[in-house]
Amino acid sequence: MVREKFPKFVFMGASLLSVGITLAILGFMVALAYPLFARGMFWKMLIQPWSPDQDLFGLGPMIVGTLSIASLAVCISLPISCGVACFVGIIHPRGKGRTLRQMVEAMTAIPTVIYGFVGIFLLVPLVRELFSQGSGMCIFSAGIMLGVLISPTMILFFIQSFTLVPQPYLNAADALGANTVQKFFYIVLPCAWKSMATGLILSFGRAMGDTLIALMISGNAVGFPGSLLDSARTLTAHIGLIIAADFDSIEFKTLFVCGICLYAMTGIGVILVRFLAGKGRVK
């Protein structure tokens, strides 16, 4: 009996440890940012600008920067991913589509830092020449590169959700003489949109959480960005840039506020996904 119980406790201990780590990450950050909560600065910081000269350590510009870069990336990636997913999932399920799908899968293995590197030495000069304004390190460049980075995630998710559409429905549509576009809009989209929305949310989370591309090619200026060609700093890049190891300084504590923001945003995304999945499972 003991021999049966022992493994169970080991397995349970391991999972409790894993859960503990997840909670410890949040706990650690809240604990280290606690003085800011206690002084009631936390909520104000989320909208204030960043100017240490005037004792303002707000993260407003970083939050705006994060959201604008991630949204631009999703806006670029969404139509392309839709098109590619239709190509692979509906128009050419074999042959060309399979090759394309393998390429998309291989894209997931390309390291982020590579995208950043190519962004710096290829895209940034191009953008600088094209718009002849600023250094070329701007929201626009970062958004494009990030769009390329998240498209494999999105495409694979879309293809996955197309396969959840019941085959009899598609056969029925074929029998009624529907063409591809009708099949897509009247059968596939109504059946698969929830699962596609899941993919969209997860890709948005991925775009927000990416550090290297934003750090390398968005320019990292701390002002509120005014246009797409302005340089901006994201929350992730802000964490990556700070080297101050002084436990007591406010600059150092703002890092943990960034961390809490990112944790909260991605966490809400995951819970939203859960909610979508629980409501309408296509099976």
């Binding site: 997840t22 293995a109 990556g240």
Partner: protein, 294 residues
């Protein structure tokens, strides 16, 4: 007629998008290859040092990628050693022991862990180091061990998910045979279920290795530096390939250093692709085995 026009437009749109994507990938890879292929030589990795002396660690390599590659290797090995038992056990618990409610809650937590940006995990590692440094060990600085631990936390959810999925998708007859012969639950897991799902788990582990090899954000905050040589202990700082690429892109001094950056990019892509193909191959072989057995 109108609908056929729509149909054509739709096809055109799908073709166009696919071409844009293929073009983007080709441009990215082509750019690196065109700029960097002539750096691909033994001297890129070993510098001026003869390679057998470098491999035997008899002489230090100063102007090559060798220390960065060794650093990445050490990092991967350590991180995977930490992550495998934890991920495997947790996956087994979720698939075989947990009640539906516990499973729901725990997998929600692991989904959140999977969604946490890697830089936040790095920040966690960094703040733990500072905390320990202030409170317990004066001589602890960001180092290989901390980086490896943080990376292990990063890949943990993938490991858990793969193990859980592999176990849950086993067919009923595989699952039932051993218990009907009188095996205990643990014997069943250890002798039947785990071996049967081993290839999927292994391919998941290989994909996790790929993630360890490419991640930069975590190690940036937890101890990777530009020049450290080969790490002497787990408490030393280290070099790593992705960090080297990042460092070169922002701080390169001259043309030859930049060229070495291109070379490093190609080496890193090559390593990641090999890992990816390996994982794929193992999965495919499993699929074939299942196909021909039944």
């Amino acid at each position: 007629m109108k609908s056929s026009l729509w149909d054509k437009g739709f096809h055109l749109f799908a073709w166009g998008c696919s071409l844009v994507l293929v073009a983007a990938v080709s441009i990215i890879l082509g750019f690196l290859i065109v700029k960097g292929y002539h750096t691909l030589a033994p001297s890129l990795i070993f510098g001026d040092t003869p390679f057998w002396e470098a491999l035997l660690l008899r002489r230090q390599v100063f102007d090559g990628l060798f220390p960065a590659m060794v650093g990445t290797l050490c990092l991967i090995v350590l991180a995977i050693v930490f992550a495998i038992p934890l991920g495997l056990f947790t996956g087994i618990f979720l698939a075989e022991y947990a009640s539906p409610k516990v499973k729901w809650l725990f997998s929600l937590v692991f989904d959140i862990l999977a969604g946490i940006p890697s830089i936040v995990v790095g920040l966690f590692g960094f703040s733990i180091t500072l905390f320990l440094h202030h409170c317990f060990f004066d001589r602890l600085y960001p180092c290989l061990l901390i980086s490896a631990l943080s990376l292990a936390f990063l890949v943990l959810p993938y490991m858990i998910r793969t193990t859980q999925m592999a176990l849950e998708n086993l067919p009923m007859d595989v699952r039932m045979t051993a218990p009907s012969l009188g095996a205990t639950k643990f014997q069943n897991i250890f002798y039947v279920l785990l071996p049967a799902s081993l290839s999927i788990i292994v391919s998941g582990i290989i994909l996790s290795i790929g993630r360890c090899a490419e991640d930069t954000a975590v190690i940036m905050l937890t101890g990777a530096v530009a020049t450290a040589g080969i790490p002497r202990s787990v408490f030393a700082s280290f070099e790593a390939l992705p960090f080297y690429i990042y460092y070169i892109s922002s701080q390169y001094a001259d043309h030859s250093e930049l060229m070495k950056g291109y070379g490093a990019c190609l080496v890193l892509i090559f390593i990641c692709m090999i890992l990816f193909v390996l994982a794929h191959w193992i999965k495919q072989r499993l699929a074939q085995k299942l196909l021909y057995r039944s």
